[in-house]
């Protein structure tokens, strides 16, 4: 990094120069002769047109809004800088993966749901965990009371994972696990299941989120101070690069940053800044950027401002490719390609008139496809209220299938390329992202910016501003602040019965009663030593501990003792 001091500063300067539009005389004539008389005649009242990022949208875009050498920043599909997509034929060759997030209640419930989705044509598994699991508390911890299985499946020990994947051949599926702080432990469990199924680790594939920076930024699920988590992720990165070729160990996630209330530009900028940090981390750990960068994947939100989302995704690919090539010295195309999963926005859904959420999700899903996503989760219409019901999940999946197989938007690659507006917006969003990179660079990097609370404050400010705009009716949410219906009928929602907790505790007690306590103590002690020694790789020790049926909390408590906990900076 030292040799690139001010890299983003110069990128920003270049971009703003490029984006200052040239004078278009025919447009000025049009404004005077055609637009103004029309506005006068129709009594047009000027109002504000801005997107979530506060970028002002003009009435019409022309060639003059694009730089002379615009083509250079587009390239062709499958070619640098990948603005038009990472694969040459995109969805003509292969549809995106329709990946529906699931997991709730007990491992048995989740196992049944996974099998149901596989039988309905789902092409990849995705698992959500409950809050205690995400914070590495076992189901019998007093703090976890009432939370077991509420927001996802509960995993307290390897036993629970064995149940979740019972009867599912791990060589035939890929699994994405939405877990961060305890990601290394869950990864160890997954590897262990594969071994039990007789599979070698090169036969399995999947993703863990493990994007700890965005936890401090947005999702706020951590166990230790940032440096400790970063070290653990580094170990996982090294271990998997060497042993598990199809394991994507970090899914750099903007989704939660957006759900926390950020704008599209903030989502893009903070997510990529996190991504750059992981690249630097890998390089510092001595890994070859061409080897590990292809394992980094992204996870974006697709929200309701249609073109802004598309432009964001196109800009993301271009920025990533540019940085990997110019700043981090990547040589291989795969290392420069930004591949991403998308989930439609939960924030835009309303509990009022829940069925209209299907329409919102369809538009958001369409934007993701036009933005060139590699996989997609479409939200269920009841998601604003609770975990989705089976029926709602099916509608959401069908929505994707309609986009893929009926609308014809997949017939050609990047159909919006060359649209003056879309290209202009892509350029502008790129520039705004550079503005943040420059600021973050000047603060000493993303970790410092996060630890000081700067990033969190930026998001909170945007979030409050948007809320006030909604309040004032400047931003419309149909059903919530406009076209409101006086009487709302509650919808049928999924409730997690209290037995989930009892059943989990019962299983945990059985595990504790039947495991070899001496072995548990030994594996944990070895793990402690490894954690205390930053030159050791903790992954093998984690796998040993998991296989001795040490629980998630027991394993994490070793870390809590070694590294301590973390309190967020003051951002209110």
């Amino acid at each position: 990094m030292e040799d690139h001091k001010g890299f983003w500063h110069s990128k920003l300067r270049e971009a703003s120069e490029r984006n200052s539009s040239s004078k278009d005389e025919s447009l000025e004539k049009w404004r005077k002769n055609t637009l103004e008389p029309w506005e006068e005649k129709t009594g047009y009242k000027p109002r504000e047109f801005i997107n979530s990022s506060g970028i002002e949208i003009k009435d019409v875009y022309t060639k003059s809004d694009l730089p002379e050498d615009q083509e250079k920043f587009l390239g062709l599909p499958g070619e640098y800088p990948f603005t038009r997509g990472v694969y040459p034929n995109m969805y003509r060759g292969k549809e995106w993966t329709m990946r529906m997030f699931s997991g709730f209640g007990t491992p048995e419930d989740t196992n049944a749901r996974l099998k149901y989705l596989i039988s309905h044509g789902e092409t990849g598994l995705s698992i959500a965990f409950d809050m205690p699991t995400l914070y590495a508390y076992d189901c019998d911890n007093k703090r976890a009371d009432g939370e077991i299985g509420k927001c996802g499946v509960n995993v307290s020990s390897l036993k629970d994972m064995e149940v979740i994947f019972d009867g599912i051949d791990l060589s035939k599926v890929t699994t994405s696990m939405t877990i961060n702080a305890p990601a290394a432990v869950l990864t160890a469990m997954y590897f262990s299941i594969a071994r039990k199924q007789g599979l070698s680790l090169d036969k399995i594939g999947g993703t863990v989120q493990a994007d700890i920076l965005k936890e401090y930024i947005a999702q706020k699920e951590w166990i230790y101070p940032p440096e400790a988590h970063i070290r653990i992720i580094r170990d996982m990165m090294i271990y998997c690069t060497e042993n598990v070729p199809r394991w994507n160990y970090i899914s750099i996630s903007g989704y939660h940053i957006r759900e926390a209330g950020s704008s599209a530009v903030q989502e893009l900028a903070f997510t990529l800044a996190d991504g750059f940090y992981y690249v630097e981390m890998g390089k510092k750990a001595g890994l070859d950027v061409d080897q590990f960068a292809p394992r980094l994947s992204f996870f974006f939100n697709s929200s309701i401002n249609f073109f802004e989302e598309i432009a964001k995704m196109r800009a993301a690919r271009r920025i990533w490719a540019t940085a990997l090539k110019e700043k981090y010295g990547a040589k291989s195309k795969r290392a420069m390609m930004l591949r991403f999963h998308t989930q439609t926005s939960g924030y835009t859904l309303t509990w009022q008139q829940p069925h209209i959420n299907i329409v919102r999700t369809a538009f958001e899903g369409l934007a993701a496809v036009l933005g060139g996503t590699q996989s997609l989760h479409t939200n269920s219409y009841d998601e604003a209220m609770a975990l989705p019901s089976e029926e709602a999940v099916k509608v959401a999946l069908r929505t994707q299938q309609i986009i893929a197989e009926e609308t014809g938007v997949t017939d050609t690659v990047d159909p919006l390329a060359g649209s003056y507006y879309v290209e202009w917006l892509t350029n502008r969003i790129e520039e705004e992202a550079y503005r943040y990179f420059d600021k973050i660079e000047s603060m000493g990097g993303i970790l410092e910016a996060v630890k000081s609370g700067y990033i969190q404050r930026e998001i909170a400010t945007t979030s409050y501003r948007r809320q006030k705009r909604i309040e004032e009716g400047k931003e419309v949410m149909v059903g919530a602040n406009k076209y409101v219906e006086s009487e709302e009928k509650p919808i049928n929602i999924l409730r997690i019965p209290g037995e989930a907790q009892e059943r989990q505790i019962k299983r945990l007690n059985e595990v504790k009663a039947t495991r070899d306590g001496k072995r548990v103590a030994e594996t944990l002690e070895r793990l402690r030593k490894a954690m205390e020694d930053p030159d050791k790789n903790i992954m093998p020790f984690l796998i040993d501990a998991v296989e001795s049926y040490a629980t998630l909390e027991e394993i994490s408590n070793v870390g809590r003792e070694v590294y301590g906990g973390w309190k967020e900076p003051i951002i209110i």
């Binding site: 703090r143 936890e215 309040e471 919530a480």
Partner: protein, 150 residues
């Protein structure tokens, strides 16, 4: 504002609100928005931070002598966790701090919470003005109890 001092001999401080997420739940977009909204509505706002236990929340509320504890949970554990806060308050004989709830709370859970004295129980999408008005009312009631004879 300054002029009021000599005219009224008992000018009170503004309503004091403690925002809290007393459970394992990192969804803080809502409370962060509310913190600013309450401030802009002229209240003194404290935030208990992430992952406090119900005991910690109550200790903070007592030391800061707040009028309202505004609790938010989006993890579905409101029936257990909000109840624990209410029970602990009762156990300690605290009756002059009001409890207000919010988050993903299904309609059918509301009566149970109301019965514990936890009011509001607003879901996502509730206008800020509705929440502010309710909190202000509850704060005034609590203040009344603090000041009043009984």
């Amino acid at each position: 504002m300054a002029a009021g001092k000599n005219q009224s001999s008992s000018k009170q401080r503004p309503p004091k609100i403690l925002l809290a997420k007393p459970g394992i739940d990192g969804h803080d977009r809502g409370v962060l928005v509310l913190a600013r909204a309450f401030r802009d509505a002229g209240m003194e706002v404290l935030y208990a931070g992430l992952l406090p236990t119900p005991e910690e929340v109550i200790d903070t509320a007592v030391n800061e002598d707040v009028d309202v504890i505004a609790m938010s949970l989006l993890n579905g554990a409101h029936l257990t966790v909000f109840k624990r806060v209410a029970d602990l308050m009762k156990e300690r004989g605290i009756d002059d701090i009001a409890l207000v709830g919010g988050g993903t709370i299904p309609e059918e859970d509301k009566p149970a919470l109301e019965a514990l004295g936890i009011t509001g129980n607003y879901g996502p999408g509730t206008p800020l003005s509705t929440i502010i008005e309710h909190v202000r009312k509850r704060a005034a009631e609590a203040r009344e109890k603090k000041m009043g004879q009984d």
